[in-house]
Symmetry: C2
Subunit: 146 residues, 2 copies
Amino acid sequence: MGGVGAIPVRIDQALTSGLTGNGRPVLAELAALAERLAVTGASGAIDLQALPLSPADLEWLRETLGRGEVSTTIEAAGPSSIEETGFAGVWWITHRNASGQIVAELIEVATVPEIVAATRDEVGASAARLAAIVGESVPSGKETRA
Amino acid sequence: MGGVGAIPVRIDQALTSGLTGNGRPVLAELAALAERLAVTGASGAIDLQALPLSPADLEWLRETLGRGEVSTTIEAAGPSSIEETGFAGVWWITHRNASGQIVAELIEVATVPEIVAATRDEVGASAARLAAIVGESVPSGKETRA
C-alpha cells in the first residue's frame, strides 16, 4: 500500500504482521488460571471473542500453545471442536453453527472441558434406560431390537 | 457348510448369526455401573477382551448402545478412540498400536473418560511453562519463538 514510512517502526510492524500485542496478556491469564486450577481445582475460561485480538494474534496464540494429543468433536446443532493444546489442562474450544460459522471461541483451563462431561443426572437416566433394555432384549438367534 | 440340521435351533441360529447371548450380561453390568455412578460418583469399566464375546456380540452391543454426540481421539504411541454411546456417561474406548491393531477395548462408565482428563500435577507443570513463556515472549512485530 505504501505511505507508511513515517509511522514508527513498531506500529509499522504491527500493521504488517497484524499482531497487536494483545496475545501476551492472554498467555499471562492462562498461566494464572492453570496455577489456580493446579492449586484449588477451580477451572476457568477466556472468551476469545470478547477480547481485541486480531486474526494474527489468534494464530500466534495457537502456535504458541501448540497441539496436544487429545482432540474431541461434538456433533450437536453445529459441530464443536475441543483441542488439547501443548499444555495439559488448556483446551482450545470452537463452537460452530450448522453453516460452519464460528459462534464462540474460547480457551478453557480445566482438567476436563465442561462440555465433554456427562452429569450425574444424565447418567442416572442412562442407568434407567439400560435397565429397561436389559429387561427387553434377547440377543440370541435372530436379533431383536429394543 | 451344511450338516447342522440336527443341532437344536437355538444353537443353529447362534452359529449362523455368531451371537452367543453373552452381550446381554454386559448390558446388565453397564446398567449397574451407571446406577452406581449416578448415586455414588464412582466410575467403572468393562474389559471387553476379557469376556467371551464374539464379533457378532460386539456388533450387537455397539448397535444396542448406539452413538452419542461426543467423539475423542488421542494420538499417543498408537491412536485411541473414545466414543460416547447413546447413553450419557457410557464410553466405548478402543486403543490401537502403531500398526492400527486393537490392543485394548473397553466400555467405561464415568462422567468423563479417565484417559481424557489432565491431572492437577500436569496442570501445575503447564502453569510453570506458561509463566516462563510469558516472561520470554514479545508478540509484536516479527514473531519470536519461545
